[in-house]
């Protein structure tokens, strides 16, 4: 890709992917940017602009071919590959993620789960044995890990992150309530649940229905 695409646009792509997948499941094979805009609550011009970023141009009087567009977005998002993930922290969040079967459907495979708690190490969760976090270094040498899911308490998150990066893992999905320091070549995606809840509180208070 030659030009940088803003994160705001990228963050909308999975949503396009979801909507287009639903359309195709319902036998809809083509759609105008106007109809898509009504469904997605975006303006038609916003949709055209977003998709133009990736060279997807609808045809005048025809609109978009849903399947082609879906495949295009799939490729852009890198969902034509599979990814190996490890979960660090076998608590409620870690277990919830492990049990969420949508991820595997999209090519995200959990290959390991790690914890520091001796009471849980050795037990099996969804067919995967919980390992001691001290095994992660050796495990990362034997297995290619694309993404580490950080699902430990905030107090342990930063040190763990430093270790994970030193093992050569490039993707971080961060559920700890802290911001991890950006490093060259490492991609961090944060899920700040408290921020999301605070945003909801704000919108409840202000009665504002602004949308992205």
């Amino acid at each position: 890709m030659e030009k940088k695409v803003s994160l705001a646009v990228i963050k909308r792509l999975p949503r396009y992917y979801r909507f287009l997948g639903d359309l195709l499941d319902n036998g809809i094979t083509r759609i105008s940017s106007k109809d898509l805009s009504l469904k997605m609550n975006l303006t038609a011009s916003q949709i055209r602009q977003d998709l133009n970023n990736f060279g997807c141009f609808g045809q005048q009087g025809y609109g978009y071919n849903v399947e082609l567009l879906l495949n295009e977005i799939k490729e852009i998002l890198g969902l034509n590959k599979t990814y190996n993930l490890v979960i660090l922290g076998a608590g409620k969040i870690g277990q919830a993620l492990l049990n969420y079967n949508k991820f595997e459907k999209r090519g995200f495979n959990f290959i390991g789960i790690f914890d520091i708690d001796k009471n849980i190490i050795g037990s099996e969760l969804k067919g995967i044995k919980v390992q001691d976090i001290n095994n992660l270094k050796a495990f990362s040498k034997e297995n290619h890990i694309d993404i580490a899911v950080i699902a430990v308490p905030v107090a342990n998150a930063t040190d763990l992150y430093e270790n994970v990066v030193s093992y050569g893992i490039k993707g971080i999905w961060n559920f700890s309530n802290t911001e991890l320091k950006a490093k060259d070549g490492v991609i961090i995606e944060n899920v700040h649940l408290t921020d999301s809840l605070m945003t909801l509180a704000y919108r409840l208070n202000s009665g504002e229905f602004v949308e992205e």
Copy 2:
């Protein structure tokens, strides 16, 4: 507030709140927009622009008073009040949220948890008895509920959402992997974990380090 503030700005406020809280905890009582920008990885002009939206102006040569700014944002976000939440779905996600103690610190109190599974109804989670989802209507008459957390499988989410809204609950924190139809007077905040993971995959593939 007289003018509409974009959701993008609102979504940054909790992050400001977190950073400023950390500063204050570390005894830092004032900060320039430049120093704040370095910490937060935003431009100084972005910060000034964001905060100007809410009438927070730093003083030339002094910067921002951290405590005043923190209190201002707290009030804007509505965190000087408390909120009553119910969790709908006592599975892993529901339990993870119930166990996350940061929420109570911010004034978000879980007052009920509901499920359809007879095996879990009646058991106690963190001191709260799991109720039959059919009790929600009566419960919502006896208790003021600000926010319903939808943590049920996608197949049940839409019907449940319709019920919740008919009971007069105005805030929806949606963890089901579907988009709920916007309704007048109802605020929906979505946590789409699959979208977040797909965004991470995209960024890993493209090697892009764009930030919002």
